[in-house]
């Protein structure tokens, strides 16, 4: 599981996740995700390259998202594959971390 952080125009922090967000993948990214969330106001979770998402992986998305929301920020998810999106929807996380498939609409939601 790989994680990359990119600062975009408009104060948006893009977190690019790449690989399987299973128990092992979640453990690999949790610290960096939480540190990033602690200093971000506008968080874009780029899920385009996430090939698997389990409930521990969901936790890796929800905990940082809760941290950003607690300090008044916004979080969106961008580009999940169909099965990853289904996990987000089955767990109702999509109603709280809106899913966008176009980068422009994801950025507009954060503006």
């Amino acid at each position: 599981m790989q994680i990359a952080i990119e600062e975009m125009d408009g104060g948006v922090t893009r977190v690019i996740l790449d690989g399987r967000l299973d128990i092992e993948g979640a453990a690999a990214v949790d610290l960096k995700m939480n540190v990033t969330a602690g200093s971000s106001q506008l968080l874009l979770l780029d899920l385009q390259k996430v090939t698997f998402l389990g409930s521990m992986g969901l936790r890796s998305l929800v905990v940082p998202a809760q941290a950003v929301r607690r300090h008044g920020g916004k979080v969106v998810a961008f580009g999940p594959a169909p099965m990853v999106e289904e996990v987000l929807k089955a767990s109702n996380v999509d109603t709280l971390i809106p899913i966008h498939h176009e980068l422009s609409s994801a950025l507009a939601a954060l503006a």
Binding site: D22, L58, Q66, M83, E86, S91, L96
Partner: protein
């Protein structure tokens, strides 16, 4: 409910450590290649097995290492793919465990509390029975859409 008796085609034996779950995906991938399973079915099987096995390790065995659990794979008479998990943990009926209510806000989401909901959604059948010294959880998958009608 998975129907009929059937002989296990493959068995995965695990120790009660979360690190052992890394063995599950390659095992499922091998079975998937042998049976020509579509990608989304492999995803659903991996998702449900990760949830079910991590529940046994974290809640059944309460994180204590060096207990055993097994996963048997078979195809039943109806053509359903059946994964049977057996453990020696105290009796715990995962099927009767209530789902957390749908969260109304981000702060209400219980991190890690989605496992049962996901298993019910992504497996086509889910059955539990007590054993003299443990539990048997049976997860069934057809070749169609996860949790839905065969395509």
């Amino acid at each position: 409910m998975p129907d009929g008796t059937h002989k296990a085609e493959a068995r995965l034996s695990l120790n009660s450590r979360l690190a052992e779950l890394t063995l599950v995906c390659p095992w499922v991938d091998r079975l998937a290649a042998e049976h020509g399973l579509p990608e989304e079915k492999v995803f659903a099987i991996n998702l449900c097995l990760e949830e079910a096995l991590s529940n046994v390790i974290r809640h059944g065995y309460k994180g204590a290492p060096d207990h055993s659990l097994t996963v048997d794979f078979s195809v039943n008479a109806g053509g359903e793919l059946v994964f049977t998990i057996e453990d020696h943990a105290p009796v715990f009926n995962a099927c009767a465990f209530p789902e957390s209510p749908a969260p109304a806000s981000l702060d209400e989401i219980k991190p890690g509390g989605q496992g049962i909901r996901l298993m019910r959604r992504f497996a086509n059948s889910l059955a539990w029975e007590p054993l003299p010294h443990g539990n048997r959880l049976t997860l069934g998958f057809n070749y169609g859409a996860p949790g839905g009608e065969p395509r």
